[in-house]
Symmetry: C2
Subunit: 468 residues, 2 copies
């Protein structure tokens, strides 16, 4: 038995225990955007601190202006090279609980479609992701007595709410975080049987906009015929954000947007043809920018989404109210070349120009992230790609994502570190939605994938050392 075979066996043998622990972690409602869950966030950080300490990491819980970061270090191993693993332990809010048919924070194993599944907020995004690489490192240490090289693990608690504290943290810990390559473990596979590495991530700008009339709430029967209705005004602005070709109408929105490189377009068009993604997600009623395939629009073109709207009567019964205000929440997904601040400014000007005189508009939002285009031909990426192919026995696809991982941009910009984005999330996992779920087999194969990736990286380092 090779040491790799031993590690894979160890992962298989330890699976029940690994899953039991993972379910404990998912049971902690570590929602980062709701102040009511601050204690849960801390509990999750402490839980991870404890588990990382158990397998031999020197762990710390580091305070930030927001939620704490868990930072774990293997210490010097005597081998050249330092790897960084990034994951996040915070989760999205639950949303409408009525839409869940499983409790969001009481995961248990369920047999479904021949799979052992578990449901829960964070089950896929991203607790199973971080747990898979921790489990691989545990097995490596158990079999080899040490880690393959020096390893730093950074677990964030604010990814789902904008990573506001991350820049200051990275700035303060530049030295501890410096690495040869950073693995960002919060991404998708290409299909349930095909691995992927994500090399293109969109930028993200969240914005909240409130339209206010000059009046307080009024009786709509009395004044509806003459006084401004903020819901109508807001609805009109929102419905005008796209033209008939699916292009965004905000002046200057596309300024600086870089075209998707021709080679990548060809690959993505090919993937668009073979994807089974739209067996699960129906595009009826959606507006795709004219001239682009679905995957090009999702991975390479800037978009605006309306994530929420609220105005007037929210109660159980009817109410003849003409509300004073209406609020919408939007998010912009940026392509390379777009600047978050400029997009925000352009949007605000667009709205201001469309609010009738006498009414007013206010905005809430700041910061944001730019899109990232990662290297597609580095030795680290090639090694990771090979590792994935050994486990899955299928080619590793280079894909994009409509999602943002602010950290990737920060690592790129602040540390100059090469980033490789890998994960095992599937589009059917219902992440950010009711009944988010994951399955036992993917935890197992995810952990095994990381063993293979680490092994390929070890080979790479050895051959580099031999050449030197």
């Amino acid at each position: 038995m090779t040491d790799t075979e031993k590690m894979l066996s160890d992962i298989d043998d330890n699976l029940d225990q690994a899953i039991a622990k993972l379910l404990d972690l998912i049971a902690i409602p570590s929602i980062s955007s709701d102040p009511e869950n601050a204690a849960d966030i801390r509990r999750a950080a402490e839980w991870l601190f404890h588990e990382l300490s158990l397998i031999g990491f020197e762990s710390e819980i580091i305070e930030t202006a927001g939620h704490p970061v868990v930072l774990a270090r293997s210490g010097r191993t005597g081998k050249a090279g330092r790897l960084l693993f990034y994951g996040h332990y915070d989760v999205q809010p639950v949303g409408d609980r009525e839409q869940w048919s499983h409790a969001p924070f009481s995961p248990e194993l369920v047999e479904e479609d021949g799979k052992k599944r578990f449901y829960g907020r964070g089950a896929s995004d991203s607790k199973s992701q971080l747990w898979s690489f921790i489990e691989a490192l545990r097995a490596w240490k158990a079999v080899n007595g040490d880690f393959p090289t020096e390893i730093v693990i950074l677990l964030e608690g604010e990814e789902e709410s904008g990573s506001a504290s991350l820049p200051a943290f990275i700035d303060a810990y530049r030295e501890a975080l410096a690495c040869d390559v950073a693995f960002i473990c919060d991404a998708e596979m290409w299909s349930p049987t095909e691995p992927a590495i994500t090399t293109r991530l969109k930028g993200l700008v969240h914005e909240r906009v409130t339209v206010a009339t000059p009046n307080p709430d009024l009786h709509s029967g009395l004044f509806g015929a003459v006084a401004a209705n903020p819901i109508r005004i807001l609805g009109s602005i929102l419905s005008g954000l796209h033209d008939d070709t699916g292009r965004i109408t905000i002046e200057g929105f596309y300024d600086g947007v870089e075209d998707i490189p021709p080679g990548l377009r060809t690959d993505w068009q090919e993937l668009s043809r073979q994807t089974a993604l739209f067996d699960e997600v129906d595009r009826a009623g959606g507006i795709i920018e004219e001239g682009y395939t679905a995957l090009e629009a999702m991975w390479g073109r800037p978009t605006v989404d309306i994530n929420g709207i609220t105005g007037g009567n929210q109660g159980p019964g009817e109410r003849s109210v003409l509300p004073a205000t209406a609020t919408a929440r939007l998010s912009f997904r940026l392509a390379p070349g777009q600047d978050p601040d400029r997009v925000r400014k352009r949007f605000r000007s667009h709205v201001e120009a469309r609010v009738p005189q006498g009414c007013s508009v206010s905005f809430h939002g700041e910061g944001g992230s730019s899109a990232v285009a990662l290297s597609e031909d580095s030795p680290h990426l090639a090694a990771a790609s090979r590792g994935l192919e050994i486990e899955w026995q299928k080619p590793t696809r280079l894909i994009g994502s409509g999602g943002a991982i602010p950290l990737v941009q920060l690592f790129n910009d602040m540390l100059g570190a090469e980033c490789v984005v890998i994960g095992f999330i599937l589009s059917g996992d219902a992440i950010h939605a009711p009944d988010e779920h994951y399955d036992v087999e993917r935890v197992r194969r995810g952990a095994r994938s990381w063993v293979h990736i680490l092994k390929e990286l070890e080979k790479l380092q050895k051959s580099a050392a031999a050449k030197a």
Copy 2:
């Protein structure tokens, strides 16, 4: 001292006690649209039952399929003629409590602008209205030992939530409710110094519409570029309900609408010129149907209002969700000639035709009321008008209202009773809005007005009897 002077003095002398009791009534949160307040509704009904019994009425609390009705009868007085007084003791929901600077259900007297005011939900709409005529009847009985004629008082508990149980109630109590004239005491004055009788009321149709995509909630970053957004779809439908001239675009919406009679148009155009209404309510950003003055649009033209909208993220933080559904609540205010069911049907067809294929729409709502045009030259109306003029020393205006009082239509249709709609609400009272309020002086003058009106009716009956 005439008996009228005695009654007016009695009202003045009893004012402190009358106000103290009224504040007790306002303190009961009798919100009819929220099932959580069912016990409060009952408490308010019992409170009124008790007060009406105290002044000599035979009172009953009558169960309905919804909230109870309080029915009080003076019994036979030996005099010809029976009068009915209608009021409602239920109130609108509070809405956003944060927008109130006074507690909505803890009224107390406040000195402001030289007036003794009290704040509370229902302070103006409509607890002070019903209390003013009860106080007048109390004074009449106290001074004269009996009521001017046989009197029936009907106090409803569902006016603010659609009066669903009223038709069945009226049907079951036709005999008890039969009357020569019904006074509907839930309406506005023309100005703080000028009385009014409302002869035109709009019809009302409430409708809730939910647009659903074929998907569950999705991650907006991943799928926003291609999958349907129900908020965008709904926003687009809502913003298209009016054209540039303020006309409603629903096909057939104006079918059968009766023109405002030319004489009334002239009067309303004159009132439009002199009204101070828009010193308080700003029309900036509103859309008034082209070709009509503000009061004509408010009182005589059909409209549609958006009363509420909800979709996607409602939480404190940002969330990249592409929601599965979005819901809006609308109300249609109908002009004479429009049928509520037909308007509802036309609206539903309009929306269905605009929801993209693959998405779906569902509706919630039923019933509704037609507009009412009351007689403008009956002897009862003339007597009431004179009574108001004696108290206010200003001409009584015949006005319209954008509001609906379903009972007026029901009384017209089911009992064939003549209705006279009188009240002392002012547009600045913030009814249906935060910080609803009323003032002591208006309670006093309202009660005095009713004494004068009853006196004029007594004269009318005497002269009719003399002629017979």
